[in-house]
Subunit: 135 residues, 2 copies
Amino acid sequence: MDATDAQILAALDLDARLSMSELARLVGMSAPSVSERVRRLEAGRVIRGFTVDVDTRAIGYQIRAMVRIRLERLIQERPEFVECDKITGDDPFLARLVVHTIEQMDDVLEALSEHAVTSTAVIKGTSVKRRLPPL
Amino acid sequence: MDATDAQILAALDLDARLSMSELARLVGMSAPSVSERVRRLEAGRVIRGFTVDVDTRAIGYQIRAMVRIRLERLIQERPEFVECDKITGDDPFLARLVVHTIEQMDDVLEALSEHAVTSTAVIKGTSVKRRLPPL
DNA sequence: AATGAAAGCTCTTAGAC
DNA sequence: GTCTAAGAGCTTTCATT
């Protein structure tokens, strides 16, 4: 990880579909060199993969919420939970929930409540969009 | 958004750098058709962009935490906060913090504590890796 | 580790259904 | 909205430094 690798990661964070030749122009190197660096970043597990950033609202999921819960299995089995971390504290799991309507959110949480207590905070907006820490 | 678009999004979620011809093979269409569909998904703001999934641990950030706080500005200004949502509840912001050491985490939280009360939960692991909701 | 040149493949555009 | 065909551009390989 040198300054050039940092430049490559920053550029790919903004647009992961940049061609190797465009990336090469950005960092001032030849395409084969940059291609080899990206390959090494993947092999070294610095780059875990490349993903698409989908606006779930644009496909009908109007409500997002953060849900704390004790039981992991319930989260993993429900595809409406799109992310879950194990954290310190009384309820060990914090999950991101995505649903079409408040009614659907209530359905999901009611179903969970039969097995575990949950604590829910509805997401009203995004203050900082996912970004890389300083490299 | 039809079944083909859903297939395209699912495939790009797994590997956003798939070539249009590979994507075309996967969904059983020609490359120009798939290319046009991806272009429309971007134009229609369903696809917000393409990003790289970087393992922050592999670049030295050993500690992750979720921090609740009242003040938004403090989060936006600190690049160690890599994500922040505005939520319902007493502390209106929930942010993801990434630091090298426990000492650095303490430094960041001490600095914040001069201006606002925070509540922190350290992340011990990931139970569900970021995924798309049902399409 | 990086470069330039060349072969092979991919993307995009154009035109037709 | 999708297809095929062809030209432009890209990625990859390899010899070289």
